[in-house]
C-alpha cells in the first residue's frame, strides 16, 4: 500500500515528506530556543578561552606541530561539545513531547510516530551540527593562524569521526528520552551517564579489571583524538616491579575500525530501541 492517504481533496504526504516537515519546524524551534543560545555561549567560551590561553602562553604542547595543535585543541574538547549538544537537543526531545504535552498537538494527526521521531532526530542533528560547525571553524581559524593553510588530513578524518559520534550520542540521548516521561529525568540521566558514569566504568574496567572497555561509547570515541596522534596509539603493556615476577598493566587504545564499530553499534541499537519505545509509548 502506498504511504500516502487521501482525504477528500487533500492527499496526506509520504512518510519521508512528513519527516522533512517535522525536522524543519523542530529545527526552527531549536534555533530560537534558549538552550541553543546557552550551548552557543558555552561553545564560544571554550573557543575564546583556548584562543586566549594559547595566544598568551604559547604552550609547546600545542604549538610543536600542526597535529599537536589540532590534537590538543580539537581532540581534547570536541567530545565535550558533542556530549553537551546531545544532552541539550536530545535529552528531552521525546520525553518533552509527553511532559510538555506538545505531543498532543502533533501526534493525533495522520503521521507515523516513526516519522516524527526521525524528523526530531534530524533536527537535533542539524542544530548540533550548527554548534559543531562554529567550533570547527574557530579551531581551523586558529590552526591557520599558527600553521598556515596546510590543515592535516588527520584533522579531516577526526571531524568525520566527530560527526559520526554525534549521531551515536544523539541516538543514545533520544533512546533515553524515549524511556522517560519526565524531561528533567531524561536530561539528568543522560548527563550523568555521559559526563561521569561512562568515564568511571571505562577507568574501572580497563584500569582495575584490565579488560578492554569495548562496550563503552566514550571508549569508541577515543578515535577522534587518537587519529591526531602520530603514530596512532596502540594497546601498551607495562610491567611493574612492585611484586616479584612483576605485574603487567595494559593501557587500552581503541583502533579506528573498533571505534567506528562501537559508535555504529551504539547508533543502530539505540536508534531502533528509541523508535520502538516511542512507537509503543502512551500519552496517558
Amino acid at each position: 500500500m502506498s504511504d500516502t492517504e487521501t482525504a477528500s481533496s487533500i492527499t496526506v504526504p509520504s512518510n519521508l515528506t512528513q519527516v522533512g516537515v517535522t525536522m524543519k519546524y523542530t529545527f526552527l524551534d531549536y534555533l530560537r530556543s534558549r538552550r541553543f543560545f546557552i550551548l552557543l555561549t558555552i561553545n564560544l567560551l571554550i573557543s575564546v578561552l583556548l584562543t586566549v590561553l594559547i595566544g598568551y602562553y604559547r604552550p609547546a604542547s600545542f604549538l610543536a606541530s600542526d597535529l599537536k595543535f589540532y590534537g590538543g585543541w580539537w581532540g581534547n574538547s570536541v567530545t565535550f561539545v558533542i556530549i553537551l549538544s546531545g544532552i541539550f537537543f536530545g535529552g528531552d526531545a521525546i520525553s518533552g513531547e509527553f511532559q510538555n504535552k506538545t505531543g498532543y498537538f502533533a501526534v493525533p494527526n495522520p503521521i507515523k510516530r516513526s516519522s516524527m521521531y526521525l524528523g526530531k532526530w534530524l533536527a537535533a542533528f542539524l542544530a548540533s551540527t550548527a554548534i559543531l560547525v562554529i567550533f570547527t571553524a574557530i579551531t581551523v581559524g586558529n590552526g591557520i593562524y599558527y600553521f598556515g593553510w596546510n590543515v592535516p588530513i588527520q584533522f579531516g578524518e577526526s571531524v568525520l569521526f566527530a560527526w559520526f559520534y554525534l549521531a551515536a550520542v544523539l541516538g543514545f540521548t533520544f533512546f533515553f528520552s524515549s524511556l522517560f516521561k519526565s524531561s528533567a529525568m531524561s536530561i539528568i540521566v543522560t548527563a550523568i551517564l555521559f559526563l561521569f558514569v561512562f568515564g568511571l566504568v571505562e577507568t574501572l574496567v580497563s584500569g582495575l579489571v584490565q579488560v578492554e572497555p569495548w562496550f563503552i561509547l566514550t571508549y569508541g570515541a577515543q578515535i577522534i583524538g587518537n587519529i591526531l596522534q602520530v603514530p596512532y596509539p596502540l594497546h601498551s603493556t607495562t610491567v611493574s616491579s612492585i611484586r616479584p615476577g612483576g605485574v603487567t598493566f595494559t593501557t587500552f587504545n581503541v583502533t579506528v575500525p573498533e571505534g567506528l564499530a562501537i559508535i555504529a553499534l551504539y547508533f543502530i541499537i539505540t536508534a531502533i530501541l528509541g523508535l520502538v519505545l516511542f512507537d509503543r509509548k502512551e500519552f496517558t
Binding site: 487533500i10 496526506v12 515528506t17 516537515v21 519546524y25 498537538f105 494527526n109 503521521i111
Partner: protein, 315 residues
Amino acid sequence: MANQSLEAVNLTKRYGSFLAVSALNLKIEGSKCVGFLGPNGAGKTTTLKMFTDLIRPSTGQGLINGVDVHTNKKKALASVGTLIETPEIYPSLTSKEALMMIAEIRGVPRAERNKRIEEAVAEVRMEEWINKRVGKFSKGMKQRICIASALLSDPTVLLLDEPTNGLDPRGMSEVRDIVKSLKSKKRLIFMSSHILSEVSEVCDEVAMIDHGKLIVYDTVSNVTAKFSEGQNIVEVGLQRPIDDRFVTENIATLPSVEAAEKKDDRNLKIRFNGGLDIQERILSDLVRLKIGVISYKPPSSELEDAYLKLIKDTV
C-alpha cells in the same frame, strides 16, 4: 462525500487490573454533533485517545470512516481534526508557523495553505495573533490555535475532548459558539464534556459512559424524555422571597402539579403532568397567587437530571 462514521468495536483499555474502558461498542454516523458525557475517570478521554493513536487499545478497534486507527493511522486520521486535552505548541513558533506545520503534515496543497490558515485563524478569532509566538499565549489562546489546527484540512470528523476546559466564562462561550458554527458544515463532531448545559446547547445526540461502559446513546431529547418519567418541569423565577409553607400548601396543591420545591428563596421547580395547555394554566394560577412571577421556563437541567439518574444507577 461518503457518510462519515466513528465506531468503537469492543474497544477496551486496561491498565493492570483497572479497566478504563470496557468493551465499548458505539457507532455514530452522519453529520451531527454527539456529546460524550461521563463523570471523571469514566473513560471519555481514554476513548478519545484510542481514536487518535495517543494510546493503544488493549483489545477491540477504534474505526474512523471504517478504518482502524491503530493499524492504519495515516488513513484513519486523514480527514479527522482533533483536540485532545489541552495541547501545547512549540513555544518559539508563531501561530502561523505552528499551523503551517500541521497543514504541511496533513498535506494541504501549498497554494491553499495561507488561505486555509487565515480562514481557520479567523474562525477562532485569533487574527491579531497570527504572527506572535505561541509561548506568550494564555491557555485559552493556545486552545483556539489548537482548534484552528483541527480545522485546517476541512475535516469530516472532529474529535474534541472538553474543548472549553480551563477557559474563562467568556472563552467558554466563544469556544461553544465556534463549535456550534462548525455544525453548519457537513461534519461529524464527537465532543466530550463535563458541562451538561454545553452539551444540551450544542449537541444533537448524547452518549453517556461510566466505569468504562456505555450507558446510553440517543438523541438529547429522547434521553431527557426517557428520564423525566413522563413528567414535565418548569422553573419559576420570583421577584420576592417565598416561604416553604406557602409552596407546600398553595403551589404543590394546584391542579396537575405533582410536586413543587424551592431551589432557593426566589426560584421554584414545579413538576407537572400534561402538555402546553396545562403549563399555561399553571402559569395563570401562579400569577393569580400574586407571588411575583417574573420568569417561567423549562429548566436548563433536564439533561443534568437524566445524567444524574443514569450515573447514580451505575454507582
